[in-house]
Symmetry: C2
Subunit: 492 residues, 2 copies
Amino acid sequence: MAIPVETFFLNQNSQGTLQSRIQQMVAEGILSGRFRRGEKLPSTRQLAKNLGVSRITVTLAYTELQANDYLSSKGRSGYFVSENAPEPPDFGPLSTTEDKVDWDSALSRRYTIDRPIGMARPADWSRYRYPFIYGQTDSKLFDHANWRLCAMQALGAKDFASLTQDQFDLDDPELVTFIARHSLPRRGIIAGPDEILITLGAQNALWLSSQLLASDGRKVAIEDPCYPELRSLLTQSGAQVTPVAVDEKGLPPENIPDGTKVIFTTPSHQCPTSSTLPRDRRDALLKRAAELDAIVVEDDYEFEMSFLAPPSPALKSLDEDGRVVYVGSFSKSLFPGLRLGYLVGSAEFIREARALRASVLRHPPGHIQRTAAYFLSLGHYDALVRRIGLALTERRKVMEAAIAEHGLEIAGKGAHGGSSLWMQAPPECDTRKFAANLREQGVLIEPGGAFFAGPNRPQNFYRLGYSSIPTERIEDGIKRIGDALAQKKKQG
Amino acid sequence: MAIPVETFFLNQNSQGTLQSRIQQMVAEGILSGRFRRGEKLPSTRQLAKNLGVSRITVTLAYTELQANDYLSSKGRSGYFVSENAPEPPDFGPLSTTEDKVDWDSALSRRYTIDRPIGMARPADWSRYRYPFIYGQTDSKLFDHANWRLCAMQALGAKDFASLTQDQFDLDDPELVTFIARHSLPRRGIIAGPDEILITLGAQNALWLSSQLLASDGRKVAIEDPCYPELRSLLTQSGAQVTPVAVDEKGLPPENIPDGTKVIFTTPSHQCPTSSTLPRDRRDALLKRAAELDAIVVEDDYEFEMSFLAPPSPALKSLDEDGRVVYVGSFSKSLFPGLRLGYLVGSAEFIREARALRASVLRHPPGHIQRTAAYFLSLGHYDALVRRIGLALTERRKVMEAAIAEHGLEIAGKGAHGGSSLWMQAPPECDTRKFAANLREQGVLIEPGGAFFAGPNRPQNFYRLGYSSIPTERIEDGIKRIGDALAQKKKQG
């Protein structure tokens, strides 16, 4: 690769002759890792012109750099970074100067402190033999071939505008129409395009809802345990958060405290216990919300993962007041790296959410919206969901059998499906340490403490996902967990 | 298309016999536009099983619907929505019930009210003959073929993880490395990976900066006129915003008021006047910021559009205190629908920005990051920027000649390039009305009022973009603007 001449600037504050400043500039580029061995430097003529110096000055600088083995010359081909040039440090701290800014006072707000802890999930999970991890994509189940075809179609000349155009605050009409006509009716929801907003995944939908509904310190009820990122973003938005303990049937509506104005809930598959809110509790929840005049945010993050029993109609489908805001996601049924989800709610709410989203990011990239629209409308999506359902049915069966066999304790599981089991170790077992030990044996489990509201989080729960582990490895993986627990017991 | 049986739910609250409720359900589906003419209904057996009713009840309901011409029967093939079925309303308001929610009190915050006004830009701009619009992509200049190849490469098996995986708060390392090694050095900036964050376009970078630096009511200086979305999102974030009038050399640093803690500026091409901040003002600006102990956010939204003179080094490259936060964008050089930009700043700032971004949306979709990384690293990007530069050089020449010829007045133009000219009509001309009139003649211009801080915005400015109009139409388009102005003068 040739190093473009535009990347050369003389440091205005450095001392010395022009020639030495040029030498310094090139050497610094090499030492900082910007210029790499074998890369071609601009010609002396080009560089001289760009810097506004005489060509002989550049030639002298290059010659000197060559003598010091920073550069090598290949006759007419010009100068190159020498193969013997000093190695740059491996992209460590590059700035030689220290910040004069006191960031504690420069930052009006910190966001790192509210981030959920203990959620560190290895990016290289696929290298582990027993990845009981949650929410990633199984390359063996995903329909990569058809996704590629749809993406290529969306890259065609016909879709040039949807690929390239600034849509300001608008969404891809084809994706919205498909969601309105096809996805939502399956959940019993009828909504028009002005009641739907495409979001950057369910995370973005939850964030938008929290900003719109709970940014002024009003009382918000969440489930306990719950998705840690939700607790974190509600805290950030300034809401007064009350965790309400769930039981084996999900959120008990009668325990939602008086004064609550917003209720965040996961009725299809409670996160993380996977329990499904029964119909009578759904009615009771809507009644309680009406009493409180509260808005309900229904996070239906894995609706499609209902393979053991037909899905219940969404809470939103029972809502005659317009008080349910529905959050859908393609992260589980397609893949999380797609970053596509949606919000469904009253037109007035969606209008505000659209304005906020436009401020924050304008719109989700057009190309991925159009690709998803094709994938859905060509029927690949339904086929994929069926295939995933079949695989998860089998894995779930093997999971439950192995768990019974090896004496593990299930704390919660979805009657309708889901892609994980919520597990309970003996009270004295800290699953953070336990998970670290198992990891060394190639077994990835997710410690459960982060799902609970603080300060006294129980640390003996853990989650076992089965959406990414091959069926044939489940038995052996569960055995290792069982063995490790048994050994712990013996030691303890 | 067959209508999936899962989309059928009996309304629990409706009255009448089971049969009539089934009829009502199907009829409602047709009338609401969910089921369309020619679509196949589930078999009576399937539907009966799904609803938990007897098959004869469903058969009777279907027969009745057929008699009323909602459905037609095709013998053994089953039942279809009749070709004579009533037409649904064109996706108007579907809900029959009215919201019982008082959104005025349910919403803790409104975002529609702060939205910039007068920025309505027609989505169908490409159908106009003379689109002097700003910030869209010219299909004749964009390297669609190579973009497609890079996207296909990024869809390959090797990149499955970068496509599908949930990266939590991380970015594509290949894109970050390329920006660090290639894009930033051209601007004179040296930064390591922990000093770079990929954002959903420059809009997202500005939003993140405003949340981090100015969410507690502190004093912020912006340019006047300026990018209206910036003013809007700063107002939303709660900052105390002071507009500082720019002149033909951009922002005068000495006019930044005491007490200012954050300065938002566009030194390369002032938005919207396109002027370039000269070197002495850059130094003075950094000096003033140091005096105020203020952070400077440098929005370099169209750095690459420097085709008339070599670009100046970025303000960030002169910053030895770590007080400049740099905003880059691929919207102008690639396309705005991509939604990719980046933030460069001190590691501590970037860490907070990363945490906030993770809360709001996790990460920009992996596929588009990887596609951009390929497009950049294979050299297509540099070639594209050169091609755009050549085209814009030519268009700019034709623009200036036509403007001189037809007596229009330029209020600001970039000495280095840019993709628009800032124009001034006689003081009595309201360019909002003027633009509406021109639109009827196929000429799109952008009224300038929205760029100014309120309440007494001058309404006689307008912006002429030349990044999307074919060179051969410029002369004729400018003539029409000139003629319309001349006619206005005669009338006025």
